[in-house]
Assembly symmetry: C2
């Protein structure tokens, strides 16, 4: 019977319709509700436990669930989502997904402010009816297919991937209606029996130095379905790009190791997306990748050695278009993988995607874009010109090299307020549960608040005159307690130290001074800036005032400051969904001038000033510390 | 010193010039004189022994030769060709290559009558000087390469294989002069340090049902350097195409087994050519393949099932162009492998190549082309039309299914004369030594002579009235002794039996009647035929009169009959060496009409008549038995 039941997933407040006899895991996965299921629905791992208080609309607890669930869990309504099935016993079931069963949310990182673009995908599907051969009609299978596509769809001059040709006769014999998937109106990359027009997916993938994020997109309507991310497995071979390049030179084969490790990571994410969304990898026909130049070279297997040596020349700059099977990316093996073009040795396809998603390739008022990460890309548009540079800002704002730093995932403190009188600390934690560390936005808050209440001075040193139990010596270091261990989800206090603050100063000084150099080069004063656009993994929760207080971004009105989230991923999605956006992306490198900071006197001077809080040049931050 | 010495290789009568201090093996290999060398010149295998009576022009016998050669051999002038070096002691050295040291000659099979074409290769080499990058000149390596090719060679709009891009920086850093290999004026498929313009090779490969032949061609001047051949390793899975197709259906993976087996065979031949001619596989940039439709499908991995089922539809007809690495053919991995287009399910790329090398795509008088093999392709040109068909003729003329049949290699009897009075047999043997069997041309001779002297009648039965010890019963069979065991290199007599003769009749009837059907279809009488062109592995030594006597070919003047040898291989070489010939080959299938014999009443009638010697319709062979 095809009767539907309503299922409400909490705490998401998401109401969906589902068929009777579906498992709750099925329903969740079909609707983008992430539930852990490490055994793949085999009733073994017990990770998919959910709570259903009123079980009138479910089957009785089964013999497979009993060994996995504790007695008190069963009493409290716990079920395994892979074994609990909808029945006709109720027309509505409310399912609570407890924290431990949720696929780990990666806040902000999957979020990117792409501009809406008209879907205009490069890959399209065409269902056609192919005639059968006879002794009189001697067309080959390929001719027969091309003939149908021309007659019914008006398509001409198509080529066919040899791998498709190999299996074509069996497909044609199994069904009169077949669906051809065509890439760029020129190449047949898949032929499937029946009408499969609704199964047309693509991937936008951001290869960060620290993290890979992969977004599944329905190419039919251009909508992103779900994004997942993981640590870049290359981290095992070096935290920053320079150490990975060094590793690649240690012995023959290491370059391959780095390539396979990042591609292996992508394949894990693809597998996760496909199993969660119940789609076949063969129905993903294209992937658009972005990343910095080193990630570009390492993923494509290009010799990266000279990226680390002056004059830092990249091997290749233009868009790379290669068959998925040739890279080993596990989507449809005839599908295409595109790596967007790069700008220079230190400004990669991520910057191209930033420019695309922020729309700053178009004419408009002066705009400054900062894509903050382990490397920060800085882009300035003014009067029809776009210039860019890159600086090594370090991973402080991603929580790395900060003693209690962490990424913006559940358990991270995301914002902090320090009381001026009592020095008490208020904080907000991502997700539910006790805090375990500080993510980027909290680190900015902490430094800004410590400065504002006078606990640190303008060079980031603690003020010995302040008396509070939160301020204390720790060996040769000094630290301030954000969260006492009683309130924390870890065994120690959560603190921020002078050494941590120094890391922040180095990072923010690099980022600020890179922007200042570009502004000086084009003669743009901060008051002229119409927009300051900030991309990066700390996302929309950054306090603008605090970011100005520490001198990370120019001291301008909040209204002119926007956070874009993962702008590179957003740009990749746009290039995936729209042919004209892709052409635009191909065009961007030739429109952008690269500025080499390594040989810039201005950069050194600006950097030295920017090591102060907010800046040694007080005129540039008149309102910052108010 | 660069003084040259003359070296005469016997029994070939080939005089060449060589440098002092070269080994005889080097000199032989450089000049296409096949000498066995299984250890690759390491003085171990002893296969390369040659006889030099006057050793004044050679070094003394060395300590490495002594353990390998017997004392009496040394006394008789034997040397190892890999260790014997030219000295200034004489200005001429005569070298006898004994039978046992010769690379097995494959007579006729490597010979093909290609028309001379102007070399116009698709693959060309361009040496250029690439500038070095600097902080001011920020072109990527790829841009730098493209810039040099445009400035120095006027080449524009080139793409670069990603595999080349991967190693490009290392090549560019190792040498200012580099050589780019460019395919079809559009794609860079190799970048080598230094000027390597003289190392530019290609392969023409004929994939026969029974045999693979591979010809190495210097693409610089279009000259064939050397050809080698081997049994098609797919024979292990079935002797004819139908049994191989059946094998491919037995279980999943068998199609792959067949594909890998033929590609493995090709790679053995490529390895042999490269080691003999001392070239690197990486310097072979293109291969052009021909073969019948089943060989085409099996090599490319296309589903062959429907080739064996009415209406016998091929999967694909047009030229296939694929990277060598994607097929696993071990030439330069970025090189291209082309399979020439096919005409129909039973008329393949070999027929296209036949038409190309025989020149019958051009207008001209009526011409009939027979490519005789296990399958025989028959092509008729008349009045601007070309029609073709194919018949299963069986491998009798390749010596298979004939008790004492063998291929045209050393030891095969190649021609026979039977005395009308005494019934004594004169014969000629290929190579030196005693006969071991009968090759195709001898089989034709035997049947024709037996008919002419009255030992067999017009339906191929022995005449019981003839009294000669050579004619005898053998079980239920009757046989005629060609060679008594005393004269033979085997322990038994070499005979031809009634059953053998019946195989010949079936084969020749199929071939003749296929031609007759086409002639009738176009209204061409034999007296109008300007040319009868015969391709196939039995080659130039076929006695034209005897071929007419058995009714294999139409009874016309000898002057209008030509033997082309391996015409398919010759056509592949033409398409390899010349861009316009390749275009012509691509065009041929659309110009040729396929005639299906399976539904032809005429064929059945002609076939029945042709089972007689020369034919039941005596008017068609007025001169044959004279």
């Amino acid at each position: 019977m095809d009767t539907n039941v309503k299922v409400l997933f909490e705490p998401y407040g998401r109401m969906v319709e589902a068929k009777i006899s579906s498992t709750l895991l099925d329903v969740a996965q079909k609707n983008g509700i992430g539930i852990r299921s490490e055994c793949g629905g085999k009733q073994v791992c017990g990770k998919c436990r959910v709570i259903v208080n009123d079980q009138a609309g479910l089957n009785h607890i089964t013999d497979r669930e009993k060994p996995v669930l504790a007695e008190d869990e069963i009493a409290n309504g716990y079920r395994l989502a892979c074994e609990a099935r909808l029945t006709s016993g109720s027309d509505k079931v409310t399912v609570m997904v407890p924290v431990e069963s949720r696929l780990r949310p990666r806040r902000f990182t999957e979020w990117g402010e792409e501009r809406r673009v008209r879907p205009e995908p490069i890959v399209k599907k065409y269902p056609v009816t192919v005639t059968r051969p006879s002794l009189e009609d001697r067309m080959s299978d390929v001719e027969r297919l091309l003939d149908a596509l021309q007659r019914e769809q008006g398509l001409v001059d198509l080529t066919v991937d040899l791998q498709i040709v190999r299996e074509l006769p069996n497909t044609l014999h199994s069904s009169d209606t077949i669906t051809a998937t065509i890439w760029d109106e020129s190449e047949i990359i898949s032929v499937e029996a029946g009408n499969t027009s609704d199964k047309l997916f693509g991937l936008a993938i951001d290869i960060g130095t620290s993290k890979i994020t992969c977004s599944l997109v329905n190419l039919g309507n251009g909508e992103a379905i779900r994004s997942v991310s993981m640590e870049n497995p290359q981290i095992a071979y070096g935290e920053d790009v320079i150490s990975r390049i060094a590793f690649s030179q240690e012995r023959a084969g290491n370059r391959r190791v780095l390539q396979e490790s990042v591609i292996g990571g992508i394949n894990v994410l693809v597998g996760q997306l496909c199993s969660e969304m119940r789609i076949r990898t063969g129905n993903i026909y294209e992937a658009v990748l972005v990343g910095n130049t080193a990630m570009h070279h390492l993923l494509l297997g290009l010799e990266p050695k000279y990226l680390a040596r002056s004059p830092f020349t990249p091997v290749s700059r233009s868009l790379v278009d290669v068959k998925a099977r040739d890279l080993g990316i596990e989507i449809n093996s005839c599908g295409h993988v595109l790596f967007l073009p790069i700008i220079d040795g230190f400004v990669g396809a991520d910057a191209v995607a930033d420019i695309l998603s922020a729309g700053i390739y178009r004419s408009g008022g002066p705009a400054l874009l900062l894509d903050i990460g382990t490397n920060t890309e800085v882009i300035l548009r003014h009067g029809g010109r776009i210039i860019c540079c890159s600086c090594a800002s370090g991973p402080a704002f991603e929580g790395v090299h900060i003693e209690h730093g962490m990424k913006a995932v559940d358990g991270a403190i995301e914002s902090i307020r320090i009381d001026k009188e009592t020095h008490d600390v208020e904080f907000k934690v991502l997700g539910e549960g006790k805090p375990v560390g500080l993510c980027g936005s909290a680190i900015i808050d902490a430094v800004a608040q410590l400065l504002r209440v006078g606990i640190i001075d303008s060079i980031g040193k603690f003020n010995a005159g302040i008396k509070t139990p939160r301020l204390r010596e720790a060996g040769k270091n000094k630290e301030f307690v954000i969260t006492w261990s009683e309130e924390a989800g870890i065994d120690s206090d959560i603190t921020i130290s002078e050494r941590d603050i120094n890391e922040v100063l180095l990072a923010k000084a690099a980022i600020y001074s890179a922007g200042a150099v570009l502004m000086k080069k084009m003669g743009v004063g901060k008051e002229e800036l119409r927009k300051v656009l900030i991309a990066g993994a700390f996302g929309s929760h950054v306090d603008k005032r605090n970011a100005k207080t520490i001198g990370l971004i120019p001291d301008i009105d909040d209204g002119r400051i926007s956070f874009l989230g993962n702008a590179a991923l957003a740009g990749a999605k746009m290039a995936l969904s729209s042919r004209s956006m892709r052409r635009r992306a191909e065009d961007i490198p030739s429109k952008v001038e690269y500025v080499e900071l390594a040989i810039s006197e201005d950069f050194r001077r600006e950097f030295t000033n920017a090591l102060w809080l907010p800046n040694r040049n007080p005129g540039s931050f008149p309102n910052a510390t108010r």
